[in-house]
Symmetry: C2
DNA sequence: TGCCAGACGTTATACCGTTACGCAACGAAC
DNA sequence: GTTCGTTGCGTAACGGTATAACGTCTGGCA
């Protein structure tokens, strides 16, 4: 359960178990996979996992990958409050990287506002091949 | 079944039914919702809808919205081959707009390559409020 | 003490998507 | 014309993802 200290508000037992599972996996896991990893710790129902995930996502320690229906522990360099993050998902090794790029964010916001759209949340997920997997 | 003519390769009956449903809805629909709309036309199983959707997505007449697990008929102005599209999803009225912005695409590609990542596919979905729904 | 908010546990259910099988239609190759 | 590969179709069964609706238990606080 190593980790970067987001200003984390005392995790509960289930939240800590779920976070630990994600961190030691180092890759995205589905809620049901997490559940399977934690049956030995007494968890039995999906909802126990989903509730913990909801909280962890809310405080920014875990991200949800929409295109994968899966969750990953935050690896953001510095782990600040990232408003907009772009995820790089390697299809070969499942590793997930995070980009925060202000000019990209600006560009996106501008393009949306040109169309009269007021964005609240941005989902950016790149599928491809990470540095290590390019042969 | 009005529509823009992508260079469409003669849709089959099921494909035309599914596309027609999406176009007349004018908003994203889940595969099961499409199926419910088409029971009267003889469709009975999810697979019939998913197969049609697969094809329609492949030829670019329908887009899949990953963050919604839903599908929408293409409304892209000009409907060309869009490599990278950003979707603007209104959370108030469910309307979906499409942006194609070369400089945004470049910026994203550059940021990824800085990180040693070779992207194959980009998923960009903005959640927010469209022009008509801002009061 | 009484109350409330938040986390918890359990059951059941809804929603999303695929596997596996077999059949029918079409066109190219022989 | 027969063979064969490809593509679409239909059905059944299944597996993966997420939530609803209960009730319980705790800790904080008036
Ligand atoms: Zn992060
Ligand atoms: Zn990789
Ligand atoms: Zn489009
Ligand atoms: Zn709207």
């Amino acid at each position: 359960m190593a980790g970067h200290a987001h200003n984390a508000p005392q995790l509960t037992k289930n939240q800590a178990l779920v976070l630990g599972t994600l961190e030691s996996a180092g890759a995205p896991l589905s809620a049901y996979t997490i559940l399977d990893h934690l049956r030995g710790e007494g968890l039995r129902a999906p909802l126990q996992v989903y509730r913990a995930l909801d909280k962890l996502v809310a405080i920014g320690m875990v991200h949800r990958l929409e295109s994968l229906n899966a969750f990953v522990a935050c690896r953001h360099p510095g782990c600040g409050h990232h408003e907009t993050v772009a995820f790089m998902i390697c299809e070969a090794c499942s590793n997930v990287g995070e980009i925060t790029d202000a000019s990209l964010e600006d560009r996106l916001k501008l393009a949306a506002e040109d169309a009269g759209f007021a964005p609240k949340r941005s989902i950016i997920e790149l599928r491809g091949t990470c540095r290590d997997c390019q042969s």
